[in-house]
Symmetry: C2
Subunit: 553 residues, 2 copies
């Protein structure tokens, strides 16, 4: 059986019983169908103490992904079986990859969150609410200019882009407002994928509705003709945009196949955005369970770094353990093996590719947080490969645990769960910070590049330097940096696998995200609107007259 068949055959408990088990009161639960719910965070319930936080991350992935969500879900099920108090906190899938290449983001095999098809298609509407809010703001900006432009906005300076939760390269560079004086002011514009939008980041970093509205009001949208910044609050539409997100800000509750409660909320990509699920969902999980298991997108150079440097300060809670997911396939790929040959035993390639895992392990250890490695097992892995990898990991002072979450669910993740419990009982003291947010923008970016990526330096384009100057002049420089970089390499070149060194990261531009509270550094040829492949997944998706879907993965 494939993932969707397994998920459709899985027995689901009514969402009310999952919610009750997780300690949510009846008034807090807003059902969306029989197996999904939103948690009403506006209720004034007294908060309990916080459980242990486990962050799941990975090595640099192959294009198919390395099963990080699968391990997260399996680990959640195992911890729930052992402790009877675990909750999973994941990101929401974007429909771009669902219809495109990578597929959904609900785990796989017997370690899935369900109903898989609903979660991958629209779910409870959060993505669409963000899209609507984002584009309503865009329409209000263009309308303001059309209706007399009282704020004196320079249309060429508008940085607020439109968005859709779709892979659509044709919308990367567009011209709008054509067709004469009744149809707007012509200008260049662009659509980003919704998961790269500032509103998505804001939703994920907001503590409550007031914080959400404050952040929205702070968003920089453009400059005036005389170079002064224009914010959302100047347009007086912060209330309306926040109102459009009143339900999207509520975390979504579903279950795993093993009936572990799972909060799925917020879904920024980790290559072009900050890559972590919402602070509200993670906090909710921490307040309702002894173990909250969350993941950050792509490799530890992207999602985990951002989790620790961007999300953790807002969350007010440091991970108690970090799990780095590695596959023997991906390590061999990083060691130079071809995608087509990954099924074949190749100890040399494994050894060569291990440098990738090694750097990620050392990076995560440098934060002073206990680390373990999960070897996400594939049937093609040979015993020799597994032993070799475990031995190399051991030499780093870290245990490598073989997990078989796909085929065996929680049962295949028990050993990993026990190792995680052991690690979370260690007390290493405070987390070491990678950089001081009060350091200069250039220094912060250089610190990430040198200490995490292993690069030798950074080159800033003139556009990036101009933005950095703008930030410094306006006092917008005391914020974390959010690196937008390919997920396939430590460098900004997707072809440099393994653990490259002596490379220079090219920063082509800086996006100023005052609402989110970070500065996005765009590196290499990173694009904030993906394209569809030659054979998009959409071609294989179908539905029958009873509403049963096939072809989702």
């Amino acid at each position: 059986m494939n993932d969707i068949e397994i998920s459709q055959k899985a027995e689901m408990l009514p969402i009310q019983s999952i919610a009750q088990k997780a300690g949510f009161t009846e008034g807090e639960v807003e059902p969306y169908g029989h197996y999904k719910a939103k948690i009403n965070i506006f209720s004034e319930k007294e908060k309990g103490s916080m459980g242990k936080l486990i962050l799941v991350t990975s090595i640099n992935p192959t294009p198919a992904g390395e099963g990080k969500s699968t391990v997260t879900v399996g680990l959640g099920d195992a911890l729930n079986e052992i402790t009877n108090s675990a909750m999973v906190a994941l990101r929401e899938p974007s429909q771009g990859p669902v219809m495109g290449m990578k597929g959904g983001a609900t785990g796989g095999g017997y370690s899935q969150v369900i109903p898989m098809d609903d979660i991958n298609l629209h779910f409870t509407g959060d993505m669409h609410a963000l899209t609507a809010a984002n584009n309503t703001l865009a329409a209000l900006i263009d309308n303001h200019i059309q209706q007399g432009n009282d704020l004196n906005i320079d249309p060429r300076s508008i940085v607020w882009r439109r968005c859709l939760d779709i892979n659509d390269r044709s919308l990367r560079n567009i011209v709008i407002g054509l067709g004469g004086r009744f149809s707007g002011v012509p200008r260049e514009d662009a659509f980003d994928i919704t998961v790269a939008s500032e509103l998505m980041a804001i939703l994920c970093l907001s503590k409550d509705l007031s914080d959400l509205k404050d952040r929205i009001n702070r968003i920089l949208i453009a400059n005036t003709y005389d170079g002064k910044p224009v914010f959302v609050k100047d347009l007086h539409v912060g209330g309306a945009i926040t109102a459009l997100l009143k339900d999207a800000i509520k975390p979504n509750l579903v279950q795993t196949i093993g009936h572990t409660p799972a909060l799925i909320h917020g879904g920024p990509f980790a290559n072009i955005a900050h890559g972590c699920n919402s602070v509200l969902a993670t906090r909710t999980a921490l307040e309702h369970a002894d173990y909250a298991i969350t993941e950050a997108g792509f490799g530890a150079d992207l999602g985990a770094e951002k989790f620790l440097d961007i999300k953790t300060p807002v969350l007010g809670k440091t991970p108690d353990a970090i799990v780095i997911v590695a596959t023997i396939r991906a390590l061999k790929y990083n060691g130079g093996a071809n995608l087509a040959d990954l099924q074949t035993e190749d100890l040399t390639a494994l050894e060569r590719g291990f440098v990738n895992l090694k750097r990620h392990v050392k990076n995560m250890m440098s934060y002073n947080i206990p680390v373990t490695v999960s070897i996400n097992h594939f049937v093609s892995d040979t015993d020799a490969e597994v032993s070799k990898l475990a031995e190399m990991v051991k030499a780093l002072g870290v245990n490598a645990i073989v997990t078989d979450a796909w085929a065996k669910g929680g049962e295949g993740s028990k050993e990993l769960a026990n190792e995680v419990i052991r690690l979370t009982n260690q007390d290493l003291g405070d987390m070491h910070k990678l950089y001081d947010v009060n350091d200069s923008i250039k220094n912060k970016i250089e610190t990430v590049v040198k200490n995490i990526y292993g690069g030798s330096g950074v080159e800033f384009s003139s556009a990036a330097l101009k933005k950095i100057k703008e930030c410094e002049e306006n006092g917008w420089d005391k914020m974390p940096v959010c690196m937008a970089k390919t997920q396939y390499s430590f460098s900004d070149d997707p072809k440099k696998l393994g653990a490259p060194s002596d490379f220079v990261i090219q920063v082509s531009d800086i996006n100023i995200r005052l609402g989110a509270g970070f500065l996005v550094a765009l590196t290499g040829k990173i694009l904030t609107m993906p394209g569809l492949p030659k054979h998009p997944a959409a071609l294989d998706i179908d539905i029958n007259s009873k509403g049963e879907i096939t072809g989702l993965f």
Copy 2:
């Protein structure tokens, strides 16, 4: 209190108890929060017999609307009180007007469907699912061309436009695919408002999921370089697009303030689309209630004509009575009074403007369906005005009933309900058809213009003539016509109020909608993407820290 305050103070029953009262089984009801639900139409329940169908329509409106939804809801409550078996079937509001000028579409005062704020903002996500499906198809078309264009699509011929549920004039005329060979093929494109999209029409006219998929596969998207039509089925993505609408096709259940069950589903505008709620929702209401009360958008020249000529043949059920809503204010406006003076008694203007109502009444009677007029009462109406109007209506052989649905809910609509019951017990025989669908396209359009609008003829642009020829050559001419025309006038000039004659309708273009099964005739200067006004409603909308919204109307 204003509408949103009244709605927020109204006591709501749990949606399960509304559903139970309406005869839905537990398995059919998918809750969306505590007060909204989707009805699972995939259940194989045996269908009951059908109740009486009441269609509510109106005269040509002023820009603020004439309270058609308010009367529909009030009438529903009154019929439910009298017969204990009535259900309301309305359209879903578009967020374009909610954030723009006209406001939502949930009725008003004590005749509202609730929760008003939820229904007006996202509701259960149907609009967004349509937007996502529409734009996924657009991305797949452009991607097909980018990836080699096996189907030989001429990019200049693409008729499938993108859409957003937003008023955004800047997206009416755009150029996409700029930025070099990795970012698509440059071409002209446009966004329509989602409620004008063919997918919205298809959703509203589909009988079930299979029909939905068949219609989607039939959509004409472009021509090849050698002039052959290209359909969705040629792209092999009909299944994926249908899968994106698997929940959107399920009717939504809410309640009125008087606890009458209300199905709110599908929301095409009546000026630029066919203006009726979904066939599935109307059928569901008819199968579950003795009286199903529905409305069609804007004046009877638009929504009602389309209800009778486009929706009725698919629904397989003719209205048993038609209610034409008129306000003394709007009739005076149609009689030449200024918008600012509508509060002042003006019997002369009323008499002059009455010609508008008169033509609508005669039009509706020409279908051989019993008709009544609802005088939707405003406090500024004087007794003399009301008597005068009632007397003029009476002379047409039709009763005019004063209704006060806004202030008094069902209680203010009882007399209207009794008149409706009386009318539905009449049997006038079969409905008279306005035109034969097998007639030529030109003749069908001319019939609507002459017999409904009272115009003297039609002028077709060369673009329209070319499309008509294309339709005839391909055998696409045996479909109803869907007129896209201003709602403010019988003519295509919004300034010609009252009952103009001797005018010629300009048909500028024909949109071929093979999935919806009709041809859209664009008249005058009608736009399929509205703009925002100088002071958009968004500026007055706010939300507090508890999630309570103000400023929606």
